[in-house]
């Protein structure tokens, strides 16, 4: 078990576990945290999981750990690892089961005070129109052919079907479509799970949240994003549903014998991997791209339902109920990118699991309006607490493979949260503090109680203080929709 004495403090917000800590480590582990968040991280196995991840073949630089880290399976949630092309490995477990789980932010010009009385109706409309909860099916009925097109086209499929605007795609990571998707690399079981679930939120920690822009920190960036103090915005947090989970399960299974074939030894079977240039590695990347595209299309269809809900609840009450897309960003993904390693640009596969891409100013893949500023980063907090809009920085390009945090990060187990919090009482407390709550399951609500999470403001202070993100806006919730 790691303890604080195993870390070398590089600066007040950066800690390192050297490769001498455990046999088999190929690179050091670096954690962005203040003293308090370091101690939180030492409470569970998350940092040992980062150490285990540092044994993956072909790693470059360091395994990076974000301040919102918590224990996952195999690889920690809040971890970043970059493996060199062509013969470094890709590890499905280091990308996660919910491939392209991510966040979309839509912004309005509606002042909160203009619609305070309609908020209950708006929350109810969102709950009715955005299918959520256990085993829920969407209103879309996809044929096998439709699903293959979703896999290949991602959010472009939604544009073809009238669920998107071109501006939405322009303001989505990879324009909402990852290249290299091959539906032939996806199992029939994954397709069976995915077909009824497009356009659904699901359960767990996924949500739709209406927030108000509480504070602005960077006027120029906020203007570019169309964020106005006091106006309503909407966050959509979800991913590739059962489709992505099945793809990850299939490849974790398929890679079990592959590690033996390639002579790879690992401390945890959940980290199974295959060389990026191997047939197994290539096939996984093609399947992963299908799940990523499914998730982009999923959030896009949900965004359509959110717009419909705003119209239903607010048309006639306010002159302009439009929602424009600020950005849509993945926080569980493997991406082929170029990053400087020892002064040289190297092509790598960046595994981000519970970590957000945070490219700095000047990156060609960003929409024109964001290129001089850096990429928008969306950091949802826990239910009932703040969320943040940040920007990627030059520092994130130099220190963390263009990555930053993804949320608040759990500190309390689901079991403990349910023991300590009652869902119905939490709902009453949230509503008393001015937050409308619509949830399908009270125990599910209790599991996601704010006290089960770290302080998102403290997490953001670390990434901002360490220079791997810049603050733009703080958001405060006014309505939460959960499965």
């Amino acid at each position: 078990m790691l303890s604080k004495k195993d870390f070398r403090q590089i600066n007040p917000l950066l800690w390192e576990v050297p490769i001498t800590f455990q046999e088999g480590m190929r690179v050091p582990v670096r954690l962005f945290a203040d003293e308090r968040l370091l101690e939180d991280a030492l409470e569970d196995k998350s940092l040992q999981q980062a150490v285990n991840a540092s044994t993956l073949p072909g790693l470059v630089g360091q395994v990076i750990v974000m301040p919102d880290v918590h224990q996952g399976y195999g690889f920690p949630i809040g971890g970043v690892a970059a493996t060199r092309l062509p013969d470094g490995v890709v590890s499905p477990g280091a990308i996660g089961y919910d491939i392209n789980c991510g966040v979309r932010l839509l912004a309005s010009r509606i002042p909160l005070e203009a619609v305070e009385r309609q908020l209950p109706d708006l929350a109810s409309a969102l709950y009715a129109n955005c299918p959520s909860g256990v085993g829920v099916k969407g209103s879309l009925r996809l044929t096998a052919k439709d699903l293959d097109r979703v896999c290949r086209l991602g959010a472009e499929w939604a544009l073809e079907r009238g669920y998107a605007r071109q501006d939405d795609l322009d303001c989505t990571e990879e324009s909402g479509r990852l290249d290299g998707a091959d539906p032939g690399a996806v199992s029939p079981r994954a397709k069976d799970r995915g077909r009824p679930q497009l356009g659904t939120l699901g359960a767990g920690n996924h949500f739709i949240e209406v927030d108000v822009v509480d504070q602005l920190f960077a006027a120029q960036a906020a203007r570019a994003m169309g964020l106005e103090a006091g106006a309503l915005v909407v966050q959509i947090h979800c991913g590739s549903r059962g489709f992505g989970h099945q793809i990850c399960s299939d490849y974790v299974r398929e890679f079990q014998p592959a590690v033996g074939r390639y002579g790879i030894r690992l401390p945890d079977r959940e980290l199974v991997c295959a060389p990026l240039d191997s047939p197994e590695g290539q096939r996984y990347l093609s399947a992963m791209a299908c799940a990523a595209n499914f998730a982009f299309a999923n959030r896009q269809v949900l965004a359509h339902h959110v717009r419909r809900s705003f119209e239903q609840a607010l048309a006639g009450g306010v002159p302009d109920w439009d929602l424009h897309q600020v950005y849509d960003i993945a926080h569980n993904m493997g991406k082929i990118e170029s990053h400087p390693v020892q002064g040289e640009a190297v092509r790598v596969c960046v595994h981000r699991k519970g970590a957000t891409r945070a490219f700095g100013p000047g990156f060609q893949g960003l929409p024109e309006k964001y290129r001089p500023l850096g990429q928008p980063v969306l950091v949802p907090g826990s239910m009932g607490t703040a969320s943040w809009v940040l920007l990627g920085t030059q520092g994130s390009m130099e220190l963390s493979f263009g990555s930053t945090c993804h949320g608040a990060g759990r500190v309390m187990s689901r079991k403990q949260a349910k023991r300590e919090v009652r869902g119905d009482q939490l709902r009453i407390a949230l509503e008393k503090s001015g937050i409308q709550v619509r949830a399908g399951s009270m125990p599910g609500l209790a599991e996601e109680a704010p006290q089960a999470y770290k302080d998102v403001d403290a997490v953001v202070e670390v990434v901002s203080g360490a220079g791997i993100a810049q603050k733009v806006a703080r958001l405060r919730p006014v309505a939460v929709i959960k499965g």
Binding site: Q71, Q256, P443
Partner: protein
């Protein structure tokens, strides 16, 4: 007092279960019962169907994961749960089971995947023991 057949463990983000069994057949059955209890699967009144299941896997840990994953797929895709589970035989790489399937009335929380996280089936004084982590 003998150790319980299954018990929920603390896990920060997901669900973990320690499972025991005198023999591999018991461990597999107890793991299935524990997983179904964790997800709160309730059978509806309705027609029951008996189904034989045969699985072949790489090793016994993979067999455990594959078996549980098979049950999860039934919950999600066919909306059935399993009031009776009998493991007829099991080796390190294969199993035969008889499942009684019933329509699913309610599911408190879906388990989305069974992971290999630190998964090892080990022996102790009471038989076999394994710790499973589920993605929820």
């Amino acid at each position: 007092m003998p150790a319980p057949a299954f018990e929920e463990l603390q896990h920060t983000a997901d669900w973990a279960l320690r499972v025991r069994g005198e023999a591999l057949t018991d461990l597999l059955r107890n793991a299935a019962l524990g997983m179904l209890q964790l997800s709160g699967a309730v059978a509806a009144v309705g027609p029951r169907r008996r189904r034989r299941l045969r699985l072949v896997s790489l090793d016994r840990e993979s067999l455990l994961v594959d078996f549980l994953q098979e049950l999860l797929l039934g919950l999600e895709l066919r909306q059935v749960t399993y009031p009776e589970i009998k493991i007829d035989s099991a080796s390190d790489t294969s199993l035969q089971a008889t499942l009684v399937e019933a329509p699913l009335q309610a599911l408190a929380k879906p388990i989305k995947a069974v992971t290999y996280n630190e998964l090892r089936i080990e022996s102790d004084q009471e038989g076999l023991v394994a710790t499973l982590v589920f993605d929820v």
